[in-house]
Assembly symmetry: C2
């Protein structure tokens, strides 16, 4: 199965983790409050899986989560934001014919 | 199994493809001629697997390969070099405590 153009990032990145990071990135750029169920709905993945990935992203300092009432609000750290901007540049380069 | 620091890039990237790209990147920076068996030896992977990944990297324009006698010499394209520099920055950020 030849890679379709849309799969290009999938050659380099773990796509689910990429989707989770970029969902937080674009959501925060739109001024939204991001919580785990929002991400799970957006990428059509179970809450439990998203929670696991968020934990790992938190362990490496790319995101942080803050309890707000019954939900945990997810934020990109400065480092996370910087990593996402490099990822976006890589994706732009890959998409450039 | 908690991710060891060394696995951090593995959270985001497909590690084998990453290793292949960065082997070409550092090899060319050292002025070496890079061919498939060199990469296969460096990352301890079968020639056939490396060849498959090189084909995919060539399809998306990150590397190009030139026949030179009995072997094919692999080069990063400008786009490939730019992608690798973003990857290196992401890895630096991940390694920063």
């Amino acid at each position: 199965m030849k890679d379709e153009p849309a799969d290009k990032p999938g050659l380099l990145f773990k796509e689910r983790v990429l989707e989770i990071l970029l969902t937080i990135y674009s959501g925060e750029n739109e001024g939204k409050e991001i919580y785990i169920q929002y991400i799970a709905n957006k990428i059509n993945s179970p809450h439990s899986y998203v929670w696991l990935v968020i934990k790992k992203l938190e362990d490496v300092g790319l995101v942080e989560s803050v309890q707000s009432g019954r939900v945990r609000i997810i934020h990109l750290t400065d480092k996370g934001y910087e990593v996402c901007s490099h990822i976006k540049k890589i994706i732009e380069l890959l998409d450039r014919g």
